[in-house]
Every structure is written in structure tokens, then in C-alpha cells.
């Protein structure tokens, strides 16, 4: 074997060995070290504190530009509230907000920031106008870690809005907004929650998704204990959707064990069969029910669905009918 051939063989084996070793390490360790991976999900997740039990994301621009949104606009009763909001704050929700990350945070039991939402919105905001509006209504403006935070108290709650960086605001309770600022600075944020980020990574291509701990949220939602005991033992859940002409999406849940997952799949099969019976001869409903796909293995249960555009045609027809009826009676 010549030296040229030998080098080629060594190089080829080297590429194969390096790739196989990397893959094997990733498989056994459950993933590659964070330094080698680009964190899944939007960059604004770095503002979500690590104690978040649920995280949601929506690409507002894609959603607003979708055909579905254009159809739903026709069904809106009026836009007075939205117009009033724009007049006061200078923010047009459809035009000025690019994306939104929302999180449900937990804190010390009984504390003011216990189970409070946090919303991080990215877009174009008129800081001067918003601060002026807050002052007019008796709000306070402070600086926290170099970030301007506007707060306002009312009905026993204090809401805050922080201009966390150029083109991004955090909205929530004062503690939640401060927590967001601290999470970014300290690096102690939801990106270090490997379980949650693994689920986020699977949903990265959707324009709206939510991931969370089902057990934590069921408790905070105040479900009666009798109902909680009957709900299958689920740990994580995730739901993702892609809006274009209709909505396509998936819902996944991770049960505590294989048996719980099997029971949940059986329950969902029954629900889907009942839905098919109810759909009857309604084509749009039938199309949606037929699109339901149940899947998942092991501890995972997954349901894929598709709400076709025809469903929204039916909604539009219903709305038109209800608007015509008072005129007929007259």
C-alpha cells in the first residue's frame, strides 16, 4: 500500500470513527454538550427564569400574515379595544409585534409572584409614549440593573413592563420582570432545563408552540382534587401548530410510565371514535376528525390534527346567518 493510499484510508476511517464516537456519546449522554449545540427555540428564552413550568412561543408576524388570520379578521365583532390600545401606546399588535414568548413562573408559596405569567415581546415599541402613558395613570418608573421598568398598581396587583433591550419588552408582575432581567444576566434561565429544551427542540419548526409540566400546571390551575386524581399521570406536555390556510398541529404528552401512556392512548381512541360519530355528515367537521392521528410509543402519547380551511368557511357561514336573522324577523 502506498503512502497516498494509506493516508486516504486513515482519513476515511478517521471521519467514520469521529462521527460514530460523537453520535455514540450523544446517544448515551442524551445530547451533546451545550457549547456544541445551538440552543433550540427563540433567543428570548434566555429571559425566562429557570423556575418556569410552562413556556409558549408565537411568531406573531407569521400568524398575522397567515391566510387563516385574514379569514378570522372577518369574524371579529369590532376592533375598538385594539384601536384604543394602539392610540394610547402606539403599538399596533398586527404590525409592531414580531414574536412573543410567554412563561408561567412559580415562586415561593403565598408570595406575590407565585404562579405569575411573564411575557417577552419583540417588535417596535414607543418607549417615550408608553412611559408617558404610565405617568398619566399614576405609574412609577424605576431602573433595575440598567433597565427601565414601568410599573402600575391597580385592583391589588402591580403590573410592570421592562424595556429589556432595544426592540424587546418584558411584561408581568414586578418580580417576574426583575426575574427576567436577572435570568438573562446570570444565565440561570430555562435554557438549562434540558427536559424542557429537548421538547422545545422537537417543535422548533412550528410558528406557535407551548411546552410545560402538566402536573405543575394542573395543580396551579386549581383543578378539583377529585378531577386531578382521575387525570392520567402526565409529566410533560407539548403542543405545536403551524398556521397557514388552516391549522396543523401536534399535541404530545409524556406519561409517568408506559402503563399510564397506554391508558391515555386508549382513552383518546375512544374520544376520537365518539367524535367521528358526532361528525356525521358535516364535511368540514369530518375532515378535521379524520385528520386526527394518534401515535407515540413508550411513555409518549402524540396526537396530530389538522383543522382545514373549510371549518372556517363553516364558521363564516354561521356568522353570516346569525347576522341576517334579526333583519328577517324585523
Amino acid at each position: 500500500m502506498t503512502s497516498k493510499t494509506r493516508y486516504f484510508v486513515l482519513t476515511a476511517f478517521g471521519i467514520l470513527a469521529l462521527g460514530l464516537t460523537t453520535g455514540l456519546v450523544a446517544s448515551l449522554a442524551g445530547g451533546l454538550p451545550v457549547a456544541l449545540t445551538r440552543a433550540a427555540g427563540p433567543d428570548d428564552l434566555s429571559y425566562v427564569p429557570s423556575q418556569a413550568v410552562a413556556v409558549a412561543y408565537a411568531n406573531v408576524q407569521e400568524v398575522m400574515a397567515s391566510e387563516l388570520r385574514q379569514r378570522l379578521k372577518k369574524l371579529e365583532p369590532d376592533t375598538a379595544d385594539r384601536d384604543d390600545f394602539e392610540t394610547k401606546t402606539g403599538v399596533n399588535i398586527e404590525r409592531d409585534i414580531d414574536s412573543v414568548v410567554a412563561a408561567m413562573l412559580t415562586g415561593a408559596e403565598g408570595a406575590d409572584h407565585d404562579s405569575r405569567p411573564l411575557v417577552v415581546a419583540r417588535g417596535r415599541f414607543d418607549q417615550v409614549r408608553i412611559e408617558g402613558l404610565a405617568r398619566e395613570h399614576g405609574g412609577a418608573i424605576e431602573e433595575y440593573q440598567g433597565v427601565r421598568v414601568v410599573s402600575h398598581s391597580g385592583d391589588g396587583h402591580t403590573m410592570a413592563l421592562g424595556f429589556i433591550e432595544s426592540g424587546a419588552v418584558a411584561v408581568g408582575s414586578v418580580a417576574a420582570v426583575r426575574g427576567a432581567i436577572d435570568a438573562k444576566r446570570s444565565g440561570r434561565n430555562v435554557l438549562s432545563n434540558t427536559e424542557l429544551m429537548r421538547l422545545v427542540g422537537d417543535l422548533d419548526s412550528s410558528n406557535a408552540w407551548v411546552v410545560g409540566r402538566f402536573d405543575a400546571m394542573a395543580g396551579k390551575a386549581g383543578l378539583p382534587s377529585e378531577l386531578q386524581s382521575k387525570v392520567p399521570a402526565l409529566s410533560w406536555f407539548s403542543a405545536a401548530g403551524h398556521l397557514n390556510g388552516g391549522i396543523t398541529g401536534t399535541f404530545k404528552a409524556e406519561a409517568k410510565d408506559d402503563e399510564a401512556a397506554t391508558n391515555l392512548r386508549d382513552m383518546l381512541r375512544g374520544v376520537m371514535a365518539m367524535a367521528r360519530l358526532q361528525a356525521g355528515d358535516k364535511p368540514a367537521m369530518r375532515a378535521m376528525v379524520d385528520s386526527l392521528q394518534l401515535g407515540g410509543e413508550g411513555k409518549t402519547v402524540a396526537v396530530a390534527f389538522s383543522v382545514p380551511a373549510e371549518m372556517f368557511d363553516a364558521l363564516e357561514a354561521m356568522k353570516s346567518k346569525s347576522e341576517r336573522r334579526p333583519a328577517d324577523i324585523r
Binding site: M1, G31, L32
Partner: protein, 280 residues
């Protein structure tokens, strides 16, 4: 006992002889003109993967279907189907397999191999092993590079098993197609044309038709082992998908092993019995 009996070397065994031919042929095959073609063919997917990675690094999804960006793992699956399994592996099998003996005949160097005290079948076996080593060492690293360029690092853990399967299937495909076309090359006068008709004519047609004809193709069993979904990229693919009857993994591997051993044995037998007349 005479002195000559003590000093006469024993003829090497079939495997020993094949190993000697392998050592001779491997370097020649690797640095032949045909390898430039192979490098271009396997370099294509790697180049596509690089372009994909560059586009993704700018924050733009490289591929969208119905407005939804397609994930890297799905794109890798499509590359395995469309580029490697349906084109690269059969093409390399045809071009290299049919030329195992044909090159020696054309270069008029076959005589030197046949005058050695080794079984004639060992010549083919050694050349076949050289082909397998040569193509595997080019194709499989190309797959590995494409994988790490296209699939995000965060998804390596969950898709590594299917990568291992892909590598094994492509290696098996190279082996089986090589054996089939080695026989074609040993048996027929115009093996390259016949090989191309088989790989891109007969196999595609047999897979699209309903019935048992698909069982007389290598692709039917090979595609049964692939973990990725069959892409519907053309009318032919749609028709093939419609009539697809996937055999089980054990059945597929068994038949592929039968093809491999059977055609290799037939090729070796043909080379052993055929009388090669070199044109002057």
C-alpha cells in the same frame, strides 16, 4: 523424497489469493480515473449539505414545504433516499462492478493474473473486495459528513440510530449491487449498458408495477430496510409508493444475503470457466 518436493511452494488458498489480489487492486482502483467520477458523485450531497448549513446559519430555513420549514433530520432522510440509495449506490455498483474483469481485459493485463498459480475465482473475489473497500471508504464518510452538516447537533442523540442503520444499509447495498454487476460484467459482452438498464430501467419499472416482479430487484429489499419515510418527489415515486409492499427486515436481509452470495459465486464460477480472448 526429492529436493524439489521440499522447496516447491504450495499454492495459496482461495482467500489467501483473494487477499493478494485485493492488495494489488485496491490502490489501483482508488487512484483510477473512475474514482474522479465517484468523488464528484459523492461530493454532490456533501456540497448540498454545506450549502444547507450556510443558509441555515443565516437564520433562513433552507427548505420549506407548504410554508413550514423542514427539519434537518427530514432533509437527511430525503438525501439518503434520493441521492444515495436511488442513485449513488446503484451507479457505483454498475460502474465499478461491471469493470472488475472488463478493465483487465481492456488493458490486456488479465493474462498476468491468470498465469499465477491461484484460482481464477480468487481474482474476481479479490477485485470485488477491493471495490467494496474503495467505495465504502468514499461513500460512508460522505454520508457521515452530510449527516453532521444537515442534522442539528441537538437532534444527533435522537437520530443516531437511524444513521447507523443508514450506513449499514448503504454498505449492504454497495456489496449486493457490486456482486450483481460483477456477475453481469463477467457474463455479458456489454456489461455497462446492461447494468444501467437493470439499475435504472428494470428496477424502477418492477417497483412501480403491482405483483411479484419487484421481488426480482435489489431495490425492493434494500428500501424495505430504510428507516426514513419514502419521499413522494415524482409521479413514479408516488406510483411506487402506492404499490409498495414492504417485506420484513429479516426477509429483506436474508434475500439480500442470498443475492450477494449467489451472484458472487456465479461471477467467480463464470470467470473460472470462461475463456477470455484478448483482442490484439
Amino acid at each position: 523424497m526429492s529436493t524439489s518436493d521440499l522447496t516447491r511452494p504450495t499454492a495459496p488458498s482461495l482467500l489467501g489469493a483473494a487477499r493478494r489480489v485485493f492488495e494489488l487492486s485496491f490502490g489501483e482502483m482508488l487512484w483510477s480515473r473512475r474514482t474522479i467520477f465517484m468523488a464528484l458523485v459523492v461530493g454532490g450531497p456533501v456540497l448540498l449539505a454545506v450549502i444547507f448549513r450556510v443558509v441555515e446559519s443565516f437564520g433562513m430555513p433552507a427548505m420549506r414545504v407548504n410554508g413550514a420549514p423542514v427539519a434537518g433530520a427530514s432533509i437527511f432522510g430525503v438525501m439518503i433516499w434520493m441521492l444515495y440509495l436511488r442513485f449513488i449506490v446503484p451507479v457505483l455498483g454498475v460502474f465499478y462492478g461491471t469493470a472488475l474483469m472488463a478493465d483487465e481485459v481492456e488493458d490486456k493485463t488479465l493474462t498476468y493474473l491468470f498465469t499465477r498459480p491461484i484460482p481464477r475465482g480468487a481474482v474476481l473475489l479479490g477485485k470485488y473486495l477491493a471495490y467494496l473497500a474503495c467505495t465504502s471508504l468514499v461513500v460512508l464518510p460522505s454520508v457521515m459528513l452530510s449527516y453532521f452538516l444537515v442534522v442539528p447537533f441537538g437532534q444527533v442523540a435522537s437520530t443516531f440510530t437511524s444513521l447507523l442503520l443508514d450506513l449499514a444499509i448503504l454498505g449492504l447495498g454497495l456489496a449486493v449491487y457490486g456482486a450483481v454487476f460483477a456477475y453481469v460484467g463477467a457474463r455479458l459482452k456489454r456489461p455497462l449498458v446492461s447494468g444501467l438498464i437493470f439499475a435504472f430501467g428494470w428496477e424502477q419499472l418492477a417497483l412501480a408495477l403491482p405483483g411479484y416482479l419487484r421481488q426480482f430487484t435489489v431495490a425492493h429489499y434494500l428500501q424495505a430496510l430504510v428507516p426514513h419515510a419514502l419521499p413522494s418527489d415524482s409521479a413514479l415515486s408516488l406510483i411506487q409508493g402506492l404499490f409498495r409492499q414492504t417485506p420484513g427486515a429479516t426477509v429483506a436481509v436474508s434475500w439480500l444475503a442470498v443475492f450477494l452470495i449467489g451472484f458472487l459465486w456465479l461471477a467467480m464460477r463464470t470467470v473460472s470457466r470462461r475463456e477470455y480472448v484478448l483482442e490484439q
